[in-house]
Symmetry: C2
Subunit: 410 residues, 2 copies
């Protein structure tokens, strides 16, 4: 992509009402635009990052047997009445011209469970794992944290269906491992803690993946003995003792929840009569699990964790491009050639080919945008038959021979 053609532009100042660091940086660097509180547009750079995150999630979901589908956002009232969740205050409700009532989906148990009933009737149809990446809506009053708390937000939601609790438990552990791989690939491994959270009325615990950041709105207690984290909402019940090792030294952390996995058991198969005939000929209720990750929230969290005072510092696998190639005055011809070479090698590159920007402006913008590797070609570097390489986040640049660029990128 040529930067001269890029739709978005960087700005020095973020909108004043935007108080979160992730939104400030992502707006200034031209990744997103705020339409209203909790509702953001993804601009070309932001869309690229979103696509990278989506691909990481998709690969890990497919690896654990997930089949991808796409469910509607517009839901009939009746489905939600069946589970007595129509009254949920954060659900947007609307009517069509004929007065029929609908809700906008903030989760999809009410849709996937009756759908699964059409295809599951025997133990032979189980287990099955279904997921989607889809837009959700939530009437959220405190949407002040940029991409961390959305009114409209993309979410990956996986639903698993099992013949018994043992099989659910087995798959639950597989999802746990897949989630840890996703967060590692998104550059959040070090800061993310598997956290015990409330299991609702039917499971003792669920698990959250909580990432340590000062922007977080959650509080966890971290056991310094066994590294288990416990969400504040349940720690009081546990009398400030680690439920795993009994440790009493718990450290408080501000965190953001970037994933949640939940054993639904038969909570939804009951209301929707999702039953199957087992090998013994008996009809039994299907056991379910649900597993969510918000993509925008994940992107916002990455921005909260990976930035410095100059701008964003994208982890490699979710960066919009791998290389930010910059040509300075007098080196345009070599810049063009290098750009074509990198494209020929299938390397994702943004090429700053702009002629009306100074070197200083180009470097400042590159730092703000945060592509992992900056490659500069200028009259000065060309005199030495060289390019200047600098990793984002490192201070020192180094000169390399032009013909060695391939090696440095592999």
């Amino acid at each position: 992509m040529r930067q001269s053609l890029l739709f978005s532009k960087t700005t020095k100042e973020a909108p004043k009402e935007e108080i979160s660091v992730n939104a400030q940086l992502l707006i200034r660097a031209g990744f997103v635009d705020k339409l209203m509180a909790g509702v953001y547009s993804y601009l070309p750079l932001g869309f690229l990052v979103l696509g990278k995150i989506e691909e990481v999630i998709r690969q890990e979901m497919n690896r654990i047997g997930g089949q991808e589908i796409f469910l509607p956002a517009l839901h009939p009232k009746t489905n939600w009445q069946q589970t007595k969740r129509w009254g949920y205050p954060e659900m947007f409700k609307l009517k069509n011209r004929e007065g029929k009532e609908f809700g906008l989906g903030w989760t999809h148990e009410e849709i996937i469970t009756p759908l699964a009933r059409k295809f599951i009737s025997s133990y032979k149809d189980l287990p099955v794992y279904i997921y989607q990446i889809q837009d959700k809506f939530r009437d959220e009053l405190r949407a002040k944290s940029g991409l961390l708390r959305g009114v409209e937000f993309l979410m990956k939601d996986l639903y698993s269906f099992h013949r018994d609790e043992k099989d659910l438990d087995r798959y639950y552990e597989k999802v746990k491992a897949a989630y840890l791989r996703i967060f590692r690939r998104c550059g959040l491994k070090k800061e993310t803690y598997l956290t015990l959270a409330s299991g609702g009325t039917f499971s003792r615990y669920s698990h959250e993946f909580q990432t340590m950041t000062s922007a977080g709105e959650d509080t966890i207690y971290l056991c310094s003995k066994c590294e288990l984290a416990i969400n504040k909402e349940i720690i009081e019940k546990e009398k400030f003792t680690c439920p795993k090792c009994g440790g009493k030294k718990l450290e408080v952390r501000k965190t953001i929840e970037i994933g949640n996995i939940f054993k639904l058991k038969n909570k939804f198969s009951g209301p929707f009569n999702l039953i199957f005939k087992d090998e013994d000929g008996k009809e039994k209720e299907v056991f379910m699990g649900c597993y969510g990750i918000g993509l925008g929230r994940l992107m916002g969290t990455i921005a909260e964790i990976h930035h410095d005072d100059k701008g964003l510092v994208w982890p490699g696998e979710v960066a919009p491009f791998r290389v930010h190639l910059i040509s300075l005055t007098g080196a345009e011809k070599e810049g063009e050639k290098l750009y074509r070479d990198l494209l020929d090698q299938n390397i994702e590159v943004m090429y700053d080919d702009r002629k009306d920007k100074s070197a200083g402006e180009k470097f400042a913008e590159a730092d703000l945008i945060g592509i992992p590797l900056r490659v500069v070609v200028s009259e000065r570097t060309l005199q030495k038959n060289c390019l200047e390489l600098k990793k984002r986040g490192e201070q020192k640049a180094k000169l390399i021979k032009i013909k060695e660029i391939k090696k440095c990128l592999n």
Copy 2:
């Protein structure tokens, strides 16, 4: 993908209330499920087709310089008041808990135009081409045509921004060509006519891409002299004469509109004050074009055109898989080996490995699902060291040597 693990199942009967052929076939074959009138879930097979269509569209949009973004579905009332379109009867409206009003987007001029204003200020910023593939909503009373008329539907919408009408005209022709490439790649070339349609109050004509099918709800008049089509809505104004060649022999056709391109000119840049400074230093209004394709409608149209009495017949580029491999009793081992070989060669294959289905059942289901190439391995074919190959839509199968399968797929 192993068919034994596939979430969906085929059925012999479609739901009784479903009168359209596309929905009947797509539901019976397990591609989609109807949640309510005009609102469908895409199941794994349907999601694969949707992905293929999406990829064709994305490639052609990128080829004409499109930059992909992702805009929200939830819109502030104020944006729509600015263009006096808030009263549009097919717009879903809703309120949040604080009483603030929103609409669900059925198009995005009201969002993209003020967004473009943040980045366009000089002639140097033009032209620019922005598109998205995104979920739209329309309070549609007559949603009886399956995927052809959606209440919730995925749409590709491209918006172009230009310094003058001449540049808009130039790009408009490029989009026209891109659209024809898209419909050709989706297998609709022969049936699709470029059609003159109403240009609203500010352009003489817009263009539609109308596909001939008995399921269509539109009527076009086709000039038998120059092959131009004219939408019924404007033919009376033209006094039943072809506006291009003056021909008077016009044939009536039932069609479905699968694409629409429109010169918006300054219709939206006016209300949103989208202006730029030209080379002569003067401030001028930006000229815009908009270009839409409904992905679900395209999928439904492909189903209407490409089926026979046994089921769907997918065109190669949008088929869910390239090969439907079927192993019969006694050939399971060779089936497994072949399945692994095809995967190793990166060929998209669905493998019918089910042990509880007869050959007849497997063949009938394969015909219903409509994957382009059926490959059968059985005791009978193995005796001759062969496989049986049959193209969907052709009657005759042929035997080929197992080791020649690679050649037949290339």
